[in-house]
């Protein structure tokens, strides 16, 4: 790049300052070690999930991925907002519903699915399938994840928006957090997911 015509003095000074071969080798070793820490860094792996949905089907993915990532040694944070708060809500989490409308894969036309009580029917069918398949319950996945060190956060703004109280949530849930906390977690994470 240099198009300057350096003075002979400047060139001599540069030559004097040039690192020796041994110094360069030591520097390369140092950098390789640092790079190795960055590349493998098993202890530093992080995952950040934003859970925004509270239907029975959509409550599963964040919890399944959170517990699995914790098993891989990831430090996991799940930030729950809007309907995602219901997953952490002691009372409501036991009663998550599956919608019978809006999903063309449901074995009934939307006109029928929209009848009163149909969400209860589809929810009951799904719960039976979950039990028959020995799929873990939402509560079991939540408790397992918590035991494994997953941090569950309940968004303060939406707690108030939904008319919930901080005491409504399971023990171990972090409250008093907002978008900036979530963003910071996402910025530091290797994996970020919005569910």
């Amino acid at each position: 790049m240099s198009t300057d015509t350096s003075s002979p003095d400047g060139a001599d000074a540069a030559a004097d300052d040039a690192p020796t071969r041994a110094e360069l080798a030591a520097r390369v070793d140092e950098l390789e070690e640092a790079l190795g820490d960055v590349a493998t860094g098993d202890d530093g792996k992080k995952m950040s999930i934003i859970a925004t949905k509270g239907t029975l089907d959509m409550a599963y993915p964040p919890l399944i991925l959170a517990s699995t990532a914790a098993a891989f040694g990831y430090e996991v944070t799940v930030f729950h907002t809007f309907w995602g708060l219901d997953i952490l809500h002691e009372e409501r989490s036991e009663n998550l519903q599956l919608s019978s409308v809006g999903n063309p894969n449901m074995p009934m036309p939307n006109a029928v699915a929209a009848l009163p009580g149909m969400d209860r029917v589809t929810t009951r069918m799904m719960r039976k399938r979950i039990a028959d398949n020995d799929t873990a319950s939402i509560k079991e996945l939540f408790e397992t994840s918590l035991d494994m060190g997953v941090e569950f956060q309940a968004c303060q703004m939406t707690i108030e928006l939904m008319g919930y109280d901080e005491d409504d949530f399971y023990d171990g849930v972090t409250t008093g957090v907002g978008a900036a906390t979530a963003l910071q977690d996402m910025a530091e994470a290797d994996i970020q997911l919005l569910v």
Partner: protein, 81 residues
């Protein structure tokens, strides 16, 4: 076949489905000492790929064998550190 491994502990996750076989394997491995082998007995066919993937992506564990017999899948995981 399984006699070739010196098994320290057996984890029975028969009936459990994703993600529990991996999650419980992780818990059981944590209780072992370095060098010990955990046998995981599962019925979830997805556990073959999942435990392999977990062992590859997790520090301090090594998958040393997998066996299929009937509807049962056996996984042998050694704790390396």
């Amino acid at each position: 076949m399984s006699a070739e491994y010196d098994i320290a502990e057996t984890l029975d996750v028969k009936g459990a489905s994703c993600p529990m076989p991996v999650v419980k394997t992780k818990g059981a491995i944590d209780d072992l000492s370095a060098g010990e082998v955990l046998e995981v007995v599962a019925t979830d066919s997805g556990s073959v790929s999942d435990i392999d993937g977990w062992a590859s992506g997790t520090a301090g564990v090594e998958l040393i064998g997998q066996e299929e017999g009937g509807d049962v899948y056996k996984h042998y995981v050694r704790k390396t550190e």
